[in-house]
């Protein structure tokens, strides 16, 4: 159940804000938000948890305050996310944590994927640019983001939203879709959605579910093997 899970949203920007709205709609009750950015005027039209009075304040703090006003147990972590720090951060989460990767940094997406696979945490990851979005849910045993894309693209070949533009509703739809995937996994639909790359072709209004099989030589193959699985300790009353 999404209400029982610890949801951790990395990035509270264009993807993170609608993802947080979606998690609240889905019934999430415990949410941690990690972001070091501060609210800017240029964010306001698409990062809808913030208003003009929040300009200059840390996004994580403002978003957490908004969630608490709506009955969610929300925690803000004002931290700069770097690939090197993801492994220890993911390892420290509850076993049933659901991580929503909502940043715009390719290297961070791959680092989060690798850490979630290694520590057997559920991950939902997304990106959006122009009129297009990508979303994938990764659970223990499913195909991972690296099964789909083997490596991050070189920086010069990845246009940012600033360079290529993004329609607010495109990033909003993608962020909301990430929350929906998290809820679908938490509510027992992982078999149907996990490991597939959802391509949201929002110019034509089409959502395609692509692939879905683990790549045999992917670095996640070791984590998928039964011998790697951490034993669960049963609680006996």
């Amino acid at each position: 159940m999404i209400a029982d899970a610890q949801c951790v949203v990395l990035g509270a920007g264009g993807l993170g804000c609608p993802a947080l709205l979606g998690l609240r709609m889905a019934g999430a009750r415990r949410i941690t938000i990690v972001d070091h950015d501060r609210v800017e005027v240029s964010n306001l039209h698409r990062q809808v948890l913030y208003d003009t009075g929040d300009v200059g304040a840390p996004k994580a703090e403002v978003a957490a305050r908004w969630l608490r006003r709506h009955g969610v147990e929300a925690t803000a972590r004002i931290e700069r996310l770097v690939p090197e720090g993801t492994d220890s951060m993911i390892a420290a989460l509850d076993d049933d944590a659901i991580v929503l990767e909502c940043t715009d940094a390719p290297a961070l997406k791959f680092a989060c994927n690798d850490a979630c696979v290694r520590h057997r945490r559920t991950l939902v990851l997304g990106a959006a640019i122009g009129l297009r979005g990508h979303a994938i849910a990764v659970v223990p045993g499913s195909a991972c983001y690296r099964c789909v894309f083997e490596a991050p693209p070189p920086g010069e070949l990845v246009p940012s939203c600033v360079e290529a533009g993004v329609l607010g509703t495109a990033v909003g739809t993608t962020g909301m879709f990430l929350a929906h995937l998290a809820a679908a996994v938490a509510e027992g639909h992982a078999d149907a959605v996990a490991g597939r790359l959802f391509e949201l072709a929002l110019g034509s209004g089409i959502v395609r579910a692509l692939g879905g099989r683990p790549r045999p030589h992917c670095s996640c193959a070791t984590a998928r093997s039964p011998s790697h699985r951490r034993p669960r300790i049963a609680t006996v009353c």
Partner: protein, 91 residues
């Protein structure tokens, strides 16, 4: 003839078209014909050795060609071929 879906960053090679029709009985042949019709596009999809770049996926009928026969994957008349590069926006 197959329908090839072109991602936004590569549409500058297809005069802005989101889809183009290309002949070819395999992905390899289809990419060669795509390059003939739209010069410059193939090097954005394949590396110097001719392999599909690690951050680009090619799907035939929604199946990743790496799980089929890679560049030798058969393409039939009417198939939809999607070229899907990794993207990274979200601010």
């Amino acid at each position: 003839m197959a329908t090839v879906r072109i991602p936004t960053p590569l549409r500058k090679y297809t005069q802005g078209k989101e889809e183009v029709s290309v002949t070819g009985s395999s992905v390899r042949e289809l990419l060669a014909n795509l390059e003939s019709a739209h010069p410059g596009i193939k090097e954005r999809i394949c590396d110097e050795a001719g392999a599909v770049r690690r951050f680009v996926n090619v799907y035939v009928a929604d199946e990743d060609i790496r799980f089929l026969d890679n560049l030798d994957t058969a393409v039939k008349d009417g198939d939809e071929v999607s070229i899907v590069p990794a993207i990274a926006g979200g601010r």
